[in-house]
Symmetry: none
Subunit: 198 residues, 4 copies
């Protein structure tokens, strides 16, 4: 019997996609295995053929989402253009993805909440932010090296950049009317960097 991890990744993806939809709609605790099964068009037995437990699904889903984010973050460092241009493109992409599926925001909030209960999820979320901060820091330093920016406290700037992204996304996900993500991010860049341009 092969390990479950090795089993048909299409089916696994199908289940994770269904779980994501149900989690976003009903919350993780409000999601019943029967709901995920129905959403995926599978039987309960099949679900358990691919995953050991609900927690197993949750962790796999967080892993998948976060590994997608990682890929995007890594592109940021090596792409062309000035630092500010790249940040703007990154924010545009971030905004487009969130707005293409309004449930993604809710899903993110569920991830925060479940991180308090599942150590593995907590660790994944932490790693994601460490990576995000690290990438932001690398970018900021690039800007300095290339003479684009003059920065006194690069580390705190990096954390504030990440906090702005996450905070704005949170407000938007909660449904604060005044938040237009695209506008908001552009203004954030202007605020943070206008005084820092070389």
């Amino acid at each position: 019997m092969s390990a479950k991890g090795e089993r048909s990744s299409e089916r696994r993806a199908q289940i994770l996609q269904a779980a994501a939809a149900v989690y976003a709609r009903q919350g993780i605790d409000g999601a019943r295995m029967d709901d995920i099964v129905a959403e995926a068009g599978l039987s309960k037995g099949t679900l358990y053929w691919y995953f050991d437990s609900k927690d197993d699904i949750t962790v796999a889903l967080v892993e998948e989402v976060i590994s997608g984010e990682f890929a995007q973050l890594r592109q940021l460092v090596d792409a062309d253009g000035t630092v500010i241009e790249r940040l703007e493109r990154f924010f545009d992409m971030h905004t487009a993805i969130l707005q293409s599926n309004p449930l993604l925001g809710k899903l993110g909030i569920e991830f925060y909440s479940i991180a308090g209960k599942l150590d593995k999820v907590h660790e994944l979320v932490r790693q994601y932010y460490e990576e995000f901060v690290a990438v932001a820091l690398a970018l900021v330093r690039q800007g300095e090296e290339r003479g684009e920016l003059r920065i006194e406290r690069p580390r705190e700037l990096a954390v504030n950049l990440v906090a702005l992204v996450e905070g704005s996304t949170l407000l938007w996900a909660i449904g604060i009317q005044e938040v237009d993500l695209a506008q908001q991010f552009r203004n954030a860049i202007a605020l943070l960097f206008d005084g820092l341009r070389a």
Copy 2:
């Protein structure tokens, strides 16, 4: 029979305090009524004498926490000092409260999560942010009127200010090591306002 809302407010407070502790520790869905009862040192029957349901407790707790935040926010507008001084004092207080009880951050995350399920909570959280943004906007305008700041897009600045606070708090609550809330907030103010001083 009088409405439950009018019953001994000490007992209600005692229950809400217990619920807050249990919610923060175990998550709202992970909290059992028995846990709250044990934490409060009461019996189950007594708890239900004061509250109709678990959701009722949750809503009341969110109301209580948010009304405390409201009080703080309102002081911001009328206090003495420059806008930046007042923001610094507000952030110091915010930091002190969070650090005095490390579970408060977790509790906040639970509130986000439950907002997706309980409409009343969602509305309270939304109102809180609306208010926060409104206060930030009033402050920013005060700064402009008094000639302390020159601001082009006050509304977006206000939202970004709130986003920075919430984002930083979130990163801190998740446990990102590099986040020192006090430092972070001071740096945020410097970044946002250095270029805006008159």
Copy 3:
């Protein structure tokens, strides 16, 4: 909250009696909690208020049955009459009890089977046999001291006495037609002791 062990012993007895009936009828593995609940005329929640789990019920039931057997065994040593008379009375009682409830035999077989899975049950059953052998040995020695019997290998006689009782009971419980427990036990005594009478 008091420990479950301290809770109303009438309800506990009621549940154990129901469990005994269902276990004997359907086997332990074939018994559903719903069946026990229905047999006891209680709700599932109530059952779990008094017992932690199905295993908990099983162990408590074995304890109860075996502690009853212990009581009978102890009387054997101190009762009046010759050793052989006392054994005959004991066997009569044993027979009467088994025949009064034909499911008791099945229940005993279930206990053997579950002993392989629940360490606590295994230990209880083992203790019961140790005690049974010890009592048989004490009786045999009394017989010798009082000059009623002349015995060469008292320990092995004791074990064989117990083996005869258990073996006969087993054959009877399985439903071997030719086994008339009362006759069988009388004949067993005759066979074992006729050659040993002083």
Copy 4:
């Protein structure tokens, strides 16, 4: 399509052997088809090609074990030597087999337990005991005819002989320390027959 009973008997034997090991180790109810499949090194589909169901396997296994016992029992009647010598040899063989595989005792107990649920197994076990008693009776009568023994109640003696064997085996299988099967059986013969020798 040929009846399953006619299919490759090697595969069937392989499966039954695996089932015996798993049943003894985990109990029949605790044994999963997957466990048997893993133990046999086969796939689930293959197992179901040879057997219709778990009960089918169980019944076949009981049949196999009991038919082996039958073979031994029949040899008893026709072998050379006095009745007591033959019983001693039979008991030695019985002991050797049990001690060669300590799980056999557990397996026997599982058979008793499942007999309460599967009529076919009950019937097989009953037949086995009927046969065992019949053989014991034949032996006893042989002893009488040949002038080796003087017996008053041959039928009850036969049942008691079987009860002693089964009871001793049971005590041993449960793990009572003091039971040394070989010693025990020798002592049983001495007790039962010493007074009966012609």
